[in-house]
């Protein structure tokens, strides 16, 4: 395997409604900053890939116009996944293993404020049995939350996750929801879709994120402390909700095993769990022990730009490595209903 590292990461400040910017206007400053911070001239980046979903804003081929932010001239080698940018990063990592190029730009963007997000996401479900019921994304998460509660957990645990996210988000400028809520007050809030309260759900946000990957000596030459990807894997579960154990995440567990999470101590984990009960489900499946700092950024409960939030987790974890405050980090991204598909990425800094 070639050594591949995250050498730069940029993100926009997520906005509840970024009406004044079209998707390119939203994305462009982020791409520019990631490229500039990478120290690699734009024209020398070997591969470009994006992750986004045209259904979010209801604009067909928005992913093609997203390329305007990159400047695809002279012609570039480019690809796209209709998924979170974390999966675009996975493809870039695979592409870098081919050996003929040494760097890649990965970006993602989402403007879900323009559409009826929970209904839009219902249309990714089985088109015969589920989508015609308009089973919305909050309700899917609520079905999972109940299954998790029934497996021996409590709503207090969910409130604790929310409270921890809000507190962590106070030191992260790139979040939408920060604070220091009292557990009792949280639990006194009405249900949105029982057993989920509004604060158990992620905020809707528009934004973008970008990462530059580089290989071996190039990474060492442009970054003082590259965040090396020492393991990466993703796994998926059946799409039929009734064929899955919703109270745990078998696909995260398998991806974590294959990515080698357990091969060493973990300092910090960034978990893409948009609903409160999903944080402990994922943390358990990753095999994290109690000493691991989970979601120092606040996680997806504090800011959840759909299609970028997973890539942001990798970027945040990489920033902790490059900044020197962590030696070994785990980033996780999810896609599909109720944690159907999960990606796990292990990042490490050089020993010092």
């Amino acid at each position: 395997m070639r050594e591949v590292a995250v050498v730069s990461f940029a993100q926009s400040v997520p906005a509840r409604r970024a009406d004044e910017f079209n998707e390119v206007e939203l994305l462009m400053p982020v791409v520019h900053q990631a490229v500039a911070d990478s120290g690699i001239p734009k024209g020398e980046i070997g591969f470009t890939i994006s992750g986004s979903c045209d259904y979010l804003a209801g604009i067909p081929f928005a992913f093609v116009s997203g390329l305007d932010a990159v400047g695809a001239w002279p012609p570039i080698t480019e690809s796209h996944v209709e998924m979170d940018g974390a999966w675009a990063l996975y493809e870039a990592w695979v592409r870098l293993q081919h050996g003929d190029i040494d760097s890649a730009l990965v970006y993602s963007f989402g403007k879900s404020s323009l559409g009826p997000l929970t209904d839009v996401l219902s249309q990714q479900l089985d088109p015969y049995y589920l989508a015609p019921l308009w089973l919305d994304s909050v309700s899917v998460a609520a079905l999972q939350a109940r299954a998790w509660l029934d497996a021996g957990h409590s709503e207090e645990e969910m409130a604790e996750v929310v409270s921890a996210s809000r507190r962590a988000a106070r030191s992260n400028p790139n979040t939408q929801l920060a604070g220091d809520p009292d557990l009792k007050e949280l639990l006194a809030q009405p249900y949105l879709v029982d057993p989920l309260r509004r604060h158990d759900c992620p905020p809707i946000g528009d934004g973008a994120a970008a990462v530059v990957l580089a290989v071996g000596d190039l990474a060492r030459s442009v970054s003082e402390r590259p965040a090396w990807i020492t393991g990466i894997d993703h796994r998926i579960e059946p799409h039929s909700l009734g064929a899955r154990d919703l109270a745990s995440s078998a696909s995260t567990r398998e991806a974590a095993r294959r990515a080698g999470v357990g091969r060493g101590p973990v300092d910090v984990a960034e978990v893409h769990a948009p609903f409160s009960h999903q944080v402990p489900i994922v943390a358990e499946a990753l095999g994290l022990d109690g000493g691991v700092e989970v979601n120092p950024s606040g996680g997806a409960l504090a800011a959840n730009v759909v299609m970028a939030a997973g890539l942001v987790r990798i970027g945040e974890a990489a920033a902790r490595i490059s900044g020197g405050s962590a030696t070994r980090a785990v980033a996780h991204a999810t896609a599909g209903p109720a944690l159907q598909q999960n990606l796990v990425c292990v990042l490490e800094g050089d020993k010092r």
């Binding site: 993100q11 079209n22 462009m28 079905l143």
Partner: protein, 357 residues
């Protein structure tokens, strides 16, 4: 690291944007049999697997092994709630208009659970492990919504027997049971509504999603300009090319375009086509001409109509000018320009537009 995309706020134009997908989906033998049994027999079918399980709703394959499922079997129309969620404010597309529960329901005889709505009146009436019974619509069409919802099972027995009767059936046996097969009339377009409906071969599930469309800064400025009878482009700071309509960026250089350039209403036809094909929603009498017009000073062509001349007179290099809408008919969009018409000037030299063809 974070960036804030620009500081200046401009009023951004917004419009509704409705996406509709009126698709039919073919159902195949397994899902088609499920839908047919729902419609004709008010029964719920599961798919049997080689490992002896029953998957409900049925699939063509076993999600655990990937092997094809082996047949279809009736399962009970009652079962046990394995998890549930209470919807306090139902949306207009949800199965029930009043507060209801979503539930995963493991029907009697099934090994996997089905998602549907439960009409229980109150969340207090819901619990994991409770028994519920399907409530079928009286008029059924072969669709998952033929099950109107589930309701809490009545009586101490808690609904129907746990062992559904009947053996394993093939899709063909399901298709031919109850009503005589008549494949032709599965298509409503054949107009044989009074005949036996035949197997369900497809379902129709209209999708409508209502979005907002926001123009962003560059396009908003452009559209506002049109309302003032001005055509505003933007110049790329890197390659100096002038974009109209501007999108806020140079696609070639990948940089923001901020410098605004007011363009004249005159230009040159670089390419065109004569539309002879009628189509639904057509507003103009055929034949008519659409053309790419390179406005003087612009580097990208604008797509518009050429009128006030015969279709066969339009040609490359023809000089044209914009005809604005009357002020009372002004609309925020490219229709602010009614069309372009010939100016009568001599044709432009090919060299002046050959880069833009």
């Amino acid at each position: 690291m974070s960036t804030s995309a620009g500081e200046t706020r401009v009023p951004v134009m917004e419009a509704p944007n409705v996406l509709e997908f009126p698709f039919s989906r073919s159902t195949g033998p397994v899902i088609g049999a499920f839908m047919t049994a729902l419609r004709d027999e008010a029964k719920i079918l599961g798919a049997t697997t080689a490992t002896g399980k029953v998957i409900v709703p049925p699939l063509e394959y076993d999600p655990e092994t990937g092997e094809a499922t082996t047949g279809l079997v009736d399962v009970g129309s009652s079962g046990v709630v394995t998890t549930w969620a209470w919807v306090r404010e139902p949306g207009p597309k949800h199965p029930l208009a009043k507060p209801f529960a979503w539930a995963l329901i493991k029907l009697d005889g099934a090994d996997t659970a089905l998602v549907h709505a439960v009409d229980a009146g109150s969340p207090d009436a819901m619990s994991t492990g409770m028994r519920v019974t399907a409530h079928f619509k009286p008029e059924r069409e072969g669709h998952i919504r033929d099950i109107e919802c589930f309701v809490p099972s009545s009586g101490s027995a808690g609904g129907e027997s746990g062992t559904p009767s009947g053996g394993v059936r093939t899709p063909e046996e399901v298709f031919s049971s109850g009503t005589a097969p008549n494949e032709g009339s599965a298509d409503a377009s054949t107009g044989q509504a009074d005949e036996a409906p035949g197997p369900v071969r497809k379902i129709s599930t209209p999708i409508e999603l209502v979005y907002r469309f926001t123009a962003g800064r560059a396009t908003s400025r452009f559209v506002r300009g049109l309302l003032d009878f001005k055509i505003l482009g933007q110049r790329c700071p890197s390659c100096t090319k002038v974009y109209v309509p501007p999108r806020g960026s140079c696609a070639k250089c990948g940089v923001a375009t901020e410098e605004e350039v007011e363009l004249p209403t005159t230009g040159t036809v670089t390419t065109f086509c004569v539309v002879n094909v009628p189509f639904y929603g057509q507003k103009i009498k055929i034949p008519y001409v659409t053309a790419t017009i390179l406005l003087d000073g612009a580097d990208i062509g604008l797509f518009h109509l050429i009128q006030e001349c015969e279709a066969d007179e339009v040609h490359m290099g023809m000089r044209v000018e914009a005809v604005w809408q009357e002020p009372e008919n002004m609309v925020p969009g490219l229709e602010a320009i009614q069309h372009f018409r010939p100016t009568g000037e001599p044709d432009a030299d090919y060299d002046t537009y050959k880069e833009h063809v």
